[in-house]
Symmetry: C2
């Protein structure tokens, strides 16, 4: 057996264990009975341990050390070796008992968070958060030193990114977003806002039908996937022919579900479009969280929050919700793009969204670089919400308990959401240059060319390139915030008649 064949067999075993953990994670959030949590946690821990053992075996390390200098490998093969070398080095740094314990703690914390959020009681989550942060600090200490401790976490979620990258990026963005937000708030004072009449009930059945139709039109193949319900919407690749995403329902507001579905379908289309001949190795995997998020945000915002989109789905909306006011596409679009500082990140408009991310980024930086006492999180959170949004958080469920990420130990994850927003605008620019005006295309109702372009430029490549290389390959230029700022300013200037 060649070294590469042997390497790829173990690689596939590792990815199979990850895929099983992904499946059990999906089940845990969608279906698992409450008392199943403890045993599920043990099982997740066991899977993590098995995976860690395979990944860190001497034989596997030896194979990688041979293959990383093998110039006869194809580009596809090289990308597998490159990615597994990164994973191997990270895993090798962590003792196996640590990995198992960490997985178990994450699973317990997830259940504690669910309860804490339901009861809006941070104190229920705090002991679990303390354990996770403590273990995450231990994890950082196991890794090679970085400029700041938090950098070690940032790099895990978007290869090569660190505080010295994000700090200027975020301050630059904030410098353009805050004035834009102020202009919009000012403009809104002088015009009537459009609102859903209170007291209306939008049935879950109708919302399900409506959102399923939109997801299908985007190109999601329901014979190769499912849509279910969970507290926090998410998407899960599972494996070939089986991609699942979830949504949530608010019976007083169908837009909440719609944009969750468009967002998660965006993720799920990426998963359905990956090259399945490389199913259980990096070449067939999504390259990064930032790129993943570019796909979800592209469909949610660049497609879904446009008047053209609303022209297409208006008949469907009227059919499912005949009692809704008779708004035209432009009015619906204004409603869908209403800018209003709010408590909840996943329901934020495109202008305030990245400010939500920055709050989380700043708090995580405080936790890992300045040892913020975790008891203080609600207070820090709430005071930033007051400073940035002029909002008083009265309820941790609408504050620092709203996101699932910390309960999963996913510190350093949030900034990738902003990267996704930047990439999405950059992709829209490049797409328009190649396949023509996207607005016209959305309005035609035939969105296949859009999906085809994304398949060709992003999905097909899996992890062949690094994230930055992939974006450059797809758009002709390295990642940049410029298209996003121009997109945002252009869009809201037109919507609110601003003179920026």
């Amino acid at each position: 057996m060649s070294a590469y064949t042997e390497f790829i067999q173990t690689t596939e075993d590792i990815y199979r264990l990850s895929a099983i953990a992904g499946h059990l994670g999906w089940d845990q959030e969608v279906l698992m009975p409450q008392k199943g949590g403890e045993a599920r946690g043990e099982m997740m821990s066991w899977l993590a341990k098995e995976k860690h053992q395979k990944l860190t075996s001497e034989t596997y390390g030896h194979l990688i050390s041979i293959l990383e200098h093998d110039s006869a490998l194809s580009e596809d093969e090289k990308s597998n070796v490159r990615e597994m070398k990164i994973a191997y080095d990270k895993a090798k740094a962590l003792p196996v008992e640590f990995v198992a314990k960490y997985a178990q703690r994450r699973s317990n914390a997830l259940r504690a968070w669910q309860e804490a959020r339901a009861k809006s009681d941070f104190s229920l989550f705090l002991p679990h958060l303390k354990e996770l942060v403590q273990m995450t600090k231990e994890k950082i200490a196991f890794y090679p030193p970085t400029e700041t401790p938090y950098d070690a976490l940032l790099d895990e979620y978007e290869f090569g990114m660190k505080v010295s990258d994000y700090d200027p990026l975020f301050s630059g963005l904030k410098g353009r977003i805050v004035p834009l937000l102020q202009s919009i708030i000012e403009a809104k004072k002088h015009r009537d806002t459009i609102q859903l009449p209170s007291g209306m009930v939008f049935s879950i059945e109708s919302q399900t039908r409506f959102c399923t139709e939109v997801s299908k039109r985007m190109g999601f193949d329901f014979d190769a996937g499912r849509m279910d319900q969970s507290t926090h919407p998410f998407s899960s690749g599972l494996w070939k022919g089986d991609t699942r995403f979830t949504t949530r329902f608010d019976e007083s507001d169908p837009f909440s579900c719609l944009y969750a579905v468009m967002h998660e379908t965006g993720h799920a289309l990426y998963e359905q479009g990956l090259p399945h001949e490389y199913a259980f190795c990096p070449r067939g995997q999504a390259v990064s969280l930032g790129v993943h998020e570019s796909q979800s945000r592209f469909w949610e915002n660049q497609i879904g929050r446009t008047a053209s989109f609303w022209k297409v789905v208006l008949p469907l909306l009227k059919k499912e919700f005949p009692e809704m006011p008779h708004w035209d596409a432009e009015s619906l679009n204004l409603l869908a793009n209403d800018v209003e500082p709010g408590y909840i990140r996943v329901e934020a408009d495109e202008v305030t969204y990245n400010l939500h991310i920055m709050i989380r980024y700043e708090i995580e930086k405080m936790i890992f670089n300045e040892n913020l006492p975790l008891e203080d999180i609600p207070q820090v959170w709430n005071s930033m919400m007051k400073d940035w949004f002029d909002l008083d958080v009265e309820d941790d469920a609408n504050g620092c308990l709203q996101d699932i990420h910390w309960s999963m130990g996913a510190f350093g994850y949030f900034p990738t959401y902003t990267l996704g927003n930047l990439y999405a605008s950059q992709l829209l620019d490049a797409m328009s240059k190649e396949i023509g005006d996207v607005t016209t295309m959305i309005e035609s109702g035939n969105w296949h060319p859009i999906l085809e372009w994304l398949r060709d430029k992003i999905h097909d490549h899996g992890s062949l390139y690094t994230p930055a290389e992939l974006i450059e390959h797809a758009t002709g230029q390295p990642p940049t915030a410029k298209p996003f700022i121009e997109y945002l300013e252009g869009k809201y200037a037109a919507l609110y008649g601003l003179d920026l």
Copy 2:
């Protein structure tokens, strides 16, 4: 590390892989999107291979060979060694490639069967069945010789049972059942039968509520389990705090769902009652299919098909189905015990049920001991249905395609259903002697003492004893058909006023 500790660690790894396969099997039948089948098959095959490798490793074999002669082990420990020695010997007989291929084929066959059954087209299933039978014959050839080839399969599903045990048992049973059936059919000619009015619709929502209530009353803990829908109802142990069963709905007949739920809840109660401190080793597992079936049949028949049961659930039935005729408990019980030769095993009454099993047993015996050409199965099936039941099968979905078992390669499984019926009556006898008249207890509506007795006599013991030992331990006598025959004749003599 002691030999036993090392042995139990690998044993737990093996059971964890089985538990994952069980979970994925549950998902495959309940939720999996259609196009996910191929990858699911590959995953099942991979799990089977991993499990096989662990089970057949030299180290593990060596540990077993030391431990099977270790008299210092506790009885619990000895039962783990005993059961794993059996599993090891069987697994060692099969090459790893064979095991992986067999799992893959089973997964493909399951999907083919689902389609074939839906279209009632045996030819769609035939090529898959041929592959499975061919591989099963290869499997028999790998095993040590048995009196007849089919014996090797029978032993897999109920330890120690063979054709020379079943042949006299079945002919004895048939000798009593056939005259009983004839007496009943004769008696029915002279009395009005009670029937559900045609055209009534029993909504799935009402059936779900009704059956959930019954399942709860039996003692099923819904915080530690789920009820879902699948083509073929089944129960799956998964793991501690997570036991799942499925049912199916017929909108024209709520009894079909009710008895499926009582049956599957019986299985699920066994799983919920197993000693979870031995979760991933034999001591914490159900001991055999026959004993498992005794639990499901006990609740379905000895409890569920009695007038006492109907007295308890009558108010619930009236609440959910107010449009139903105003029958009393005795009438409902007559309806629930109506004896009528029919096509479908899982809907058969207690008199004809074991004849359905015998048809399958006879056909399997022909396949493996007489090389029956598989093309001939529909014809053989249909001619036996004509001879035994005077029924013309016009539709393979109601004939030889009705059961899932063959599509899972589960040849030799069916006879354990009859064992379950025998054990159930034997348990009822013993229970009555110890906790008093069970009929009175059912009618009281407090069924906890019944469940407690089963927990104490059966569930708690896991695989501590062999199946026959367990039944003897619980009832004071070895397995016997006598209580079942007496139960059946007594019950139907009373229901139909027979003079036997």
